[in-house]
Subunit: 226 residues, 2 copies
């Protein structure tokens, strides 16, 4: 009897996903990686242009083990990713959540609690229309879950103006720091406060568009944003 191959529980570490230091903070666990990615919507996309690095903030969405990014068909990295048959654009995509400021007695042991994911790979244009629609829905729903079904879908002209690129989640790692400061034993009696200041992303009260038609209330799914 044969079973469908299911995704393995972990990504395979590679030479460039094993950090040179703090290896105990690295993880290749698929669920951990997905959870970090799904909590965010802005990534930092790195690529090489004329031999020099470029890092740009951009939105992303995830579907299974594929990361989707989009932009104008005129934007630089999306043009550089080429067509579906071309070699694609080597990229590094990084997503970071800051969870706390770690204050130690010593300046040296000050740190940050965070969770981050780094993805290495080759970004390629998505040309299939169905996949492009799926990707764009995923991008909208990554920011506000449920929103893509509650807005006007892209028409043919808008679709033509939008470039979508994709990146396989294959060479990927997560890194995290948690907990309090790691002061040296000799410093514990120093008269400086030590501990953690939690950092969170929060949402303020919604601001309706000035030209919103009367009687349209904020949708319930906005209440689920935390």
């Amino acid at each position: 009897m044969e079973y469908a191959m299911s995704a393995t529980a972990s990504y395979e570490p590679t030479e460039r996903t094993v950090p040179t230091r703090s290896r105990d903070r690295a993880s290749y666990d698929r669920a951990t990686v997905h959870a970090i990615l799904d909590e965010g919507y802005v990534c930092h996309l790195g690529f090489v242009r004329d031999g020099a690095p470029v890092v740009l903030p951009t939105l992303y969405g995830r579907v299974g083990d594929t990361l989707y990014l989009h932009g104008s068909t005129g934007s630089r990295p999306l043009r550089m990713a080429g067509g579906a048959e071309e070699p694609g654009l080597p990229v590094c995509v990084t997503v970071t959540h800051v969870d706390g400021l770690v204050l130690a007695r010593s300046a040296f042991h000050h740190s940050m609690n965070y969770r981050s994911v780094v993805v290495h790979g080759t970004a390629r244009q998505v040309t299939d229309e169905t996949e492009r629609r799926t990707a764009l829905d995923a991008l909208v729903d990554h920011v506000v879950p449920g929103r893509s079904a509650d807005s006007r879908p892209a028409d043919a002209k808008e679709l033509a103006a939008t470039a979508v690129i994709k990146l396989d989640l294959a060479e990927v790692s997560a890194k995290a720091r948690t907990g309090g400061p790691n002061d040296d034993a000799a410093d514990l009696e120093l008269p400086y406060w030590a501990g953690v200041v939690p950092v969170r992303r929060t949402y303020g009260g919604v601001v309706p568009s000035a030209d919103l038609a009367p009687g349209i209330e904020p949708p319930a799914y906005l209440g689920a944003l935390r």
Copy 2:
């Protein structure tokens, strides 16, 4: 009569700091750039390794028109930046603040309110001891203003274990989006809510270290974090 040269009000745009699109969102105003940098403390550092891009989150501090980054002497980008006399490491440093989710009637016009700064340049090791101490204080104070004076300064061994690199703010631009959704006129009567959900970074109640000596209260400057 001669006056000391003061910093100009704006950075000079270059071919790579002028965006291919949304040029009206770009700014080279020095005060704008500094304000965005000073509101953050985590940047995304991009560099090229074996021809491929790498993007890592890391802390930074600013002193005038110099950005300082630090790390273990064993960390990859800091080793690659070489010594003071060496050519240095081409980098791109990007800082991004998300200010709001922009929900339009059309999926296409969904957007993000944000402010970001992108710095291109060559990172070099800081070897002068006085400048290294200034840089490390700036890094700590960037996260929690006032903290460097209220902790134990680095000793010789800690200083030796810390690499500091610097990057001139010269080829730099800011980009920002503000305001509500830009829906097409034909979409204004659609029955979808439209507006902005503000996003903020907030701080939770402080968590004292489990081994904190009794009687040490959280310092007043923590109250200034917003």
